[in-house]
Symmetry: D2
Subunit: 342 residues, 4 copies
Amino acid sequence: MIYFDSDYTAGAHPEVLDALCATNNLHTVGYGCDSYTESAKNLIRQACGTEDARVFLLVGGTQTNATVIDGILARHEGVLAAESGHIAVHESGAIEACGHKVLTLPHHQGKVKAEDVKLFIDEFYRDETFEHMVAPGMLYISFPTEYGTVYTLKELEQLSEVCHNADIPLYIDGARLAYGLAAEGGDVTLQDIARLADVFYIGGTKVGALFGEAVVVTNPKLLNHFTPLIKQHGALMAKGRLLGVQFEALFKGNLYFEIGKKAVAQALKIKEAFTSRGYTSIVDSTTNQQFFLLPNSLIDHLRSNHISFENWGVRGAEQTTVRFVTGWATTQSDIDALIALL
Amino acid sequence: MIYFDSDYTAGAHPEVLDALCATNNLHTVGYGCDSYTESAKNLIRQACGTEDARVFLLVGGTQTNATVIDGILARHEGVLAAESGHIAVHESGAIEACGHKVLTLPHHQGKVKAEDVKLFIDEFYRDETFEHMVAPGMLYISFPTEYGTVYTLKELEQLSEVCHNADIPLYIDGARLAYGLAAEGGDVTLQDIARLADVFYIGGTKVGALFGEAVVVTNPKLLNHFTPLIKQHGALMAKGRLLGVQFEALFKGNLYFEIGKKAVAQALKIKEAFTSRGYTSIVDSTTNQQFFLLPNSLIDHLRSNHISFENWGVRGAEQTTVRFVTGWATTQSDIDALIALL
Amino acid sequence: MIYFDSDYTAGAHPEVLDALCATNNLHTVGYGCDSYTESAKNLIRQACGTEDARVFLLVGGTQTNATVIDGILARHEGVLAAESGHIAVHESGAIEACGHKVLTLPHHQGKVKAEDVKLFIDEFYRDETFEHMVAPGMLYISFPTEYGTVYTLKELEQLSEVCHNADIPLYIDGARLAYGLAAEGGDVTLQDIARLADVFYIGGTKVGALFGEAVVVTNPKLLNHFTPLIKQHGALMAKGRLLGVQFEALFKGNLYFEIGKKAVAQALKIKEAFTSRGYTSIVDSTTNQQFFLLPNSLIDHLRSNHISFENWGVRGAEQTTVRFVTGWATTQSDIDALIALL
Amino acid sequence: MIYFDSDYTAGAHPEVLDALCATNNLHTVGYGCDSYTESAKNLIRQACGTEDARVFLLVGGTQTNATVIDGILARHEGVLAAESGHIAVHESGAIEACGHKVLTLPHHQGKVKAEDVKLFIDEFYRDETFEHMVAPGMLYISFPTEYGTVYTLKELEQLSEVCHNADIPLYIDGARLAYGLAAEGGDVTLQDIARLADVFYIGGTKVGALFGEAVVVTNPKLLNHFTPLIKQHGALMAKGRLLGVQFEALFKGNLYFEIGKKAVAQALKIKEAFTSRGYTSIVDSTTNQQFFLLPNSLIDHLRSNHISFENWGVRGAEQTTVRFVTGWATTQSDIDALIALL
């Protein structure tokens, strides 16, 4: 079977696994106070071009979103997000479980518009009953989005400006950040992200780590007592150095970025293969997730030939939207095998 | 440096790491729906002698405690625990963050007495104002306790009986379960735990896994919608098979139990070495954690000779309580080196 | 100034106030364990035609919604509601503060359709990722709605059926219940409400009481430990008999229903006066709240002549939507004065 | 029957009730934006000698404690309180339901010692694992305490100093504040309270109002978005002017303080009557609550002669601790009747 289901179907990138194996028998102190973690944090700060940023290593994405948002919002505040945002849809109510409403904005292929953010905030404070409503306390966006799209640098700058004019932090969910940074035609760098966001996270789970997400806090006013909150959320690993070792492997060279580039290039080949044959790409994704509306006959044909991929929503009568995802473990022969079947 | 700080200072037991390496490049579906996880669950059910138990694999202990307790208690209920219990002290308020009070009972070297549980419940319902107070909704105990002590089978049976007479579940935190089952003079088996508890977890992090805790639910009335709650608590791993692979390695043979036995035997050697030299063992621990009241001069001597271990509480003027812990990675030469310095 | 701002601008109906004054100097036990409260509960049960219903008296509406919903939902569940529902918009996130998402449905002049509820539930469970999403655990509707509209008996029966087929409770927010029961052309009785809902509340604050909401639980499986939850939510009055005295006054005769009838009749006169003069009634409200789109010139004219009423949303450039509300304290001369100015 | 059960067994003081009746038919805007509320707030500020304090009127005590504490604490923090404090015992877990642990201190007849507060904080930060524990984020004390005792001015100053040195707010629960200010031998004024606390509340429910608690925030850094939080907690009255009218009645003259003085004088007469006859006063209460250890024969004798009062705890075999409470409605003849029976 060849898997295009997601970017977390295989284990760790070999270089990451090697680092884990090489350090396995060493002893370190726990809870991320070890030297591997410190080294990883320094490498991340360097890559971000932010000497003063604080970096925290957590285990998974839902957990990271909940912990960060819980740590930022005041009790009367909610988080603005696209109605398609992961926190709005697919985290089993983790944000609400922390006591906060997700205030949804219209999405445009997964993206929110700065003007919509501004409009929401303006209208909120013009409403005489605003104290009876949930105040927008921060903005959540994902980069790339759940649809594989990315913001342009200009769009990010506009979002950042709107947020800072309204005195609310901008938080970027980078579960698949490497793929967003490698987006075809994209003009956003990691340094841009670090400059424009108040907090963001660099996803490891979907980019070659076994698990792990690195939260980068660039706004010094935020999350000043974050470690106890990480512990409270059950996100503080006893063997914390496992996170350090993995992020060190990803960031001591260019591995993190290379994984992104390779997978995006592969995904674009898949896109080209489908669209050149007349199939519809339903979203203008420029990253490692591609969405097509395919005839059920083709879908069945591919699956019966050991190509695994997910329906995106419910199977239709004649055609169905499906998703193909590439990752560190996708090989050229995987791509060739898929294309040969089209 | 030789580490006796804790049982999570090294990585995974080689057999566990080998299993992770051997499966690393395989692709599976995510979120624990893979065959490794299914196999691990079956092995755990077999080891517990409970065909019908439901098993869930989570990442860490604090997370597991919070998710289980959150899933069991009604909104007006709290959880009974020893005042020394991990949830009462060292989880940064994770239980309260879920909305529930930890109702503390006196502890006896970390253990609670069935009569104290009964007394609490009886007095609670005799109080005319009980509806203004937090109702005891379940009992939390740890096996072994935070002091390395274990309950006898009879004590466990009494606790189980008191709980079931009061119609509240008994939950056992088995972060270090293997060491408790291997306790010197202990008479409790895994099957006993499964028979007497309504829910418990089998700790992996501290027993040779990189991470992972296996929740076993034997009471069919409890936690019937646990997966969304695990997701909500950020405890559902994307690469869920990592947990399955590790627990399969621990339970396909006797590895889990052997790790416990070996480390307990080592810890008892340490205990004998200290006490035979006249040093005070402050708790009657029969497992892999040993607590001694030592002269500061000896403490300093050991540390300057590369023996690492933790103060248990604050350093005293002349003597200090310290903890020595063994684990899968503790070697005979570690023990020898320590003893040679006494 | 003549107030049409809301139904809570004046104090209590004279009969309610008289009852409070007549009992003021008496002593009773606290927290609602007094005989007035017991009497009020019996009168409410009689009015509802439900001998076995449990009745609880709380102070305010937001509090009541939060306490009931918090008491019903499991941790992984959310509450379905119209996107215009009070809990979705105007309770400062009280539901989310209890940990639960408000799952919104399209509204039709404030009402939800049974088919939309069914569709939501069906699609939810057809989605393979449903365990990563918030499960619909109950349905919240308001009667009358925030737009003054009411469900027909048939519509209520359909909603009740859809809910019970899906095994989720139907909860009706009756903050203005008396007005809904008196709706022009309405065919729903209090007994119907009690028969079709699992839980509902009879609003007192907006129907002649100083404050107070009576929760009626007809489903014996729900809210079996509600008193401690009421206390936990800060909704258990020390001088609980104040609630009993007021609801006794409202329900010992027909006062509750008469307040509703009178105010609805007055509101319909206002509606007729506006619409017969060509002004637009923007919602087909048949109860005590009426919404008109008026020229700003008329709005200013009315206000400069001491008629007070609220904008419904933001003032427009030339015309603005406004709301007129009647209540127990609205007099015939108030109506006459308003109409004379049109 | 003559009631000494509590200070909330009767309705409102006649002057408070008169004010409610006199204003009943007037219309005002809702939610506390009316002129009566503004007037009450000004009178309270004057009485407190704090021009800049912000004042908020809520309905009940448990609600007030939960809303204030929820608004002050960061997510990783808990509230220090005497183990006998109302929030630690008798609020059905309202604080934990907001996500926060109540960190208990030993009590001395209901009071906490400044040195114990300091010790707790010092030891907390000396513990290397403090980030795994719940940080002390504020101090809660009650004045008078649940045992009827009061702090001296010096004790309050010490508590205030300890708190401010540790940079945590001091919050005073004044549910029975008037009685504390009138304590026999007491030297604390309302202005002292306002000067030394960061936040406190002036209890109305137990001091002559039907209901109502006035939160006074003197620390300008705290609770800057308190109104939406009050709404979120279900504590924002629709007919908010009811609170304003009552507190205006209590504070436009000396009524609030006079109620306190009268009831304390009566309680001390009761105390003198019991102790002069050789009965044991078990707490050195100088306020309106008195606690005696009485023979069951006397208890039964009094009750059979229509004297109502509460057991304090469970009835003993031969003698039982009981509580007598006076309030605005206690008359001289009530006192005489009681004493005549001794």
